[in-house]
Symmetry: C2
Subunit: 594 residues, 2 copies
Amino acid sequence: MKRTTYAGSVDESYLNQEVVLKGWVQKRRDLGNLIFIDLRDREGIVQLVFSQEFSADALKVADTLRSEYVIEISGKVVSRGEGAINPDMKTGKIEVEVHEINVLNQAKTPPFYIQDNINVSDDLRLKYRYLDLRRPEMQRGLLIRNRITQAVHRYLDHNQFVDIETPYLTKSTPEGARDYLVPSRVYPGHFYALPQSPQLFKQLLMGAGFDRYYQIARCFRDEDLRGDRQPEFTQIDLEMSFMTAEEIQEMTEGLLKAVMKEAVDYELQTPIPRITWNEAMARFGSDKPDIRFGMELHDMSAAVANAGFKVFDSVLENGGQVKAIAVPNGAGAYSRKQIDAKQEYIKRFGAKGLAWVKVTSDGLQGPIAKFFMENAAQITEAAEAKEGDLILFVADKAKVVADALGYLRVAVAKEMNMIDETQFAFIWVVDWPLFEYSEDFQRYIAAHHPFTMPNEEDLDLLKTDPHKCHAQSYDIVLNGYELGGGSIRIHRRDIQEDMFKALDFTKERAEAQFGWFMDALDYGFPPHGGLALGLDRFAMLLAGKNNIREVIAYPKNSKASEPLTNAPSFVSDKQLAELFLRPELPEQGNDQES
Amino acid sequence: MKRTTYAGSVDESYLNQEVVLKGWVQKRRDLGNLIFIDLRDREGIVQLVFSQEFSADALKVADTLRSEYVIEISGKVVSRGEGAINPDMKTGKIEVEVHEINVLNQAKTPPFYIQDNINVSDDLRLKYRYLDLRRPEMQRGLLIRNRITQAVHRYLDHNQFVDIETPYLTKSTPEGARDYLVPSRVYPGHFYALPQSPQLFKQLLMGAGFDRYYQIARCFRDEDLRGDRQPEFTQIDLEMSFMTAEEIQEMTEGLLKAVMKEAVDYELQTPIPRITWNEAMARFGSDKPDIRFGMELHDMSAAVANAGFKVFDSVLENGGQVKAIAVPNGAGAYSRKQIDAKQEYIKRFGAKGLAWVKVTSDGLQGPIAKFFMENAAQITEAAEAKEGDLILFVADKAKVVADALGYLRVAVAKEMNMIDETQFAFIWVVDWPLFEYSEDFQRYIAAHHPFTMPNEEDLDLLKTDPHKCHAQSYDIVLNGYELGGGSIRIHRRDIQEDMFKALDFTKERAEAQFGWFMDALDYGFPPHGGLALGLDRFAMLLAGKNNIREVIAYPKNSKASEPLTNAPSFVSDKQLAELFLRPELPEQGNDQES
């Protein structure tokens, strides 16, 4: 039997036709002389009817079917009875009277139901990933991901980008995150590294004159995992020659528009708004602002200064800031206790405390209100608050204020249902600092990467006071998530050398690590720039999920292992000997097999 | 200045227009008050003219230009003078009078010319790959490769295939070729493996109900390198549920037709011819026959038996074969000395010698002709030879005869210019043996892989006499190269268990290595099958190259290293300690850095 269409695609247009369908038994309802089977495939579910009247043999087989059996049937599409119509299903107005059935495979009882919203541990879902992926919400996630990549290929091909593969076995560059290493069998003691991104290879393609490159590229980072991190992840990776930052952004907007239309039928309005990094930090306390709601940060320094509240005054005297957000209708919504709980929340960002006042018809209320009786109107105005609002203050160094209020703004917006979840709000954050201070490393590091071009007017500053430079870089943010980022790259050797100097590389170290790349810049490199979008995160956001695992077919778990195949695993001594390696195991360690 | 078009795209349709072009200086011809520059970009070359008349400033700059400088210009497109027209170039009828020029970057003198057909060592080309890739033939190869992948995405999307990524960090499976390993930092002594193919993951996607999967997937094999092998290579990987081998072949033919049209504007005729593996071996002595020419193998046993030539007789008595090819017009083309050289050539295939006769107007001639005076006509007929031909005989075991004459057939066809190089000759080779005897391992191994379904009628044989089974497998061959292959897969646990048994797996070993996969077969696996095409080889053949390195942007050299970045390389002790590894170096070994 050759399938004529998908089970989930049979609708009234097939009425009175004979169809052949293949798929899985979702459910059986046995009425004795009448058996109903829900047949499931990738496209959905259709109802099959077995009866003596249509085929005694088929009825007999139907009686033996259990969940997840694989069957093929042929039968006639008929209208359902009045009362049996299901308007929520594409196939809800019809059913199929089965004339013939073959069981193609049997199935054991699955360890969980093949349906949405199951309550099962992540590891069990990963161990039986082939069953987990049968569930409609998982299918939908991967199908949305596929629509994204199809739109990407089509749009970029149309715009004369060339899909070029870069190597996965490449050189370890100890800058940035930790590399995954691959021992060489040919060169004892030598290792390849899996790439953290195709950055330098794509820049070299610009040097090679390909003009417009793209790749949907796997990237690898051996870092400790967090909610939406995976050891391997996928980038939509672009690079263009002879284009300005604005032209690259415009090209990207076209791409995003095409993807949004294709993947979720959403009409993205362009141009996408742009704000500078400075403005994003000032207004949203975040370099990835969620602009689906307001409740922006306001500088309260002028309004609160010298009112006698020592905490604020001392912060201001020491060069700090006092900023606030006004929670619409927050005065009634938040009890003192609930506000106190927020104190704890913001401490993780280094803030010492949260001050607050409620704006009531009787003026400001709350523990610190007494200091501000005289300038209540000024405060309400500065915070853009109105009667019934709750004003939340943080006073500290600029970075702490931004982090604390930035995250608080989002947390409160969620609690207050201020976010329109049907909206996809994109925004460009541009003109980033070239460097940022890393508390981990106790030194300045590249805010994006060491190949980012400073702003034209900062080129001299790069030699004299590099950490004040801003960069020709841009992030694209979606609903408060960093969807991607990019920059104009350095295409001149002298600037690249200054950059490494600013990062405290000795000349020798720069030469040893990146000499091969700087040599390339000597041979006629064009001005160029690009961008990378996180495909996993993009798919996650479009599928309405909150973990990228939900849109990756075979992800690792939170301990970087794969319960399905049980990777990583021990390998044979012979394999290790061939690689000139001996394991040096700790006395006690994690054991994946135990 | 914003580029208005590519340099290589400017033709008469731009006449009298002002254009902005950006690219590389290919060549400068200085006539004093007139300077001509060939400007090169991805699309080709256009001629720029600088003169006092158009712009004194621009002329001054032009005077400083050297090869590979990066420039942008604006200027007016004008007709070339009668005598200056170059009909071989797209831009050959026009030139651009330059009004303004900016030098965007300078360039040192490249170590080789940026042009086709350079005579430079492979390693130098790889070290300066960004320059090598500027050469038009290299650009063309990667652009053809890109057209292949674009056609693949479009065709498969149109046919409801879903692009799904499978993991690159996965489990080592010691069957087949050697794995590249990736040490785990979380689980001491444990390793991931880079996949040799997504085989089991794609089968599980069929189990998960995705119905039609594809991926352009990187694969990894740590094997000794040969001419067209690389440590990492790329597959166009397909899998389909509920389809027969013939239906899968038909789908693949549609794909090939689309690719051939898109990549090289070639009208592929379908259906593609199919022959069985048995027939391919019999007629062409090869499981990847080049059918662009005839000169097939003929069984000469009946014609030569009992004529008194002991070599033939003894082979036939011992169950061997005598086969021959007839080289058209070979009698005149090959001297006795040249034929003797072929003796050496076929010895590498285990053949003991080459017998021959020339068909002349005076009958058969040559050292063994005397034995066949009586049945000369019979021999000429059996070999399908005519006057002027050279008949070449090999007598040996079937496998040796096939190999020796199969390769000889191709070598002779090349020498005799019998091959139409403009033709793309596809052929399916179907119905392979399920197993083949491996001289390396001294045992039977799976001819394709252990997940290949035997022919329906051989299922009982799998239990009793497995090595006689044929398989539901198929290779697609192009111009004598194996372009790809696939099969219907085993979807039932009992057959999979029989298969492992036939491969001499103990029950325990099968369970330990593939238990997780066989468990999956228990939960309602659909019948399914698929295919993988070698993208590198496909691009190589369509670009008319003879090494896949020519169509890979950053390949490894023949020693699996990359001269550009110098990968693989030593890594720090800290990196190794984090992975619980200690190198165990041999006293003297290869040193990549030396």
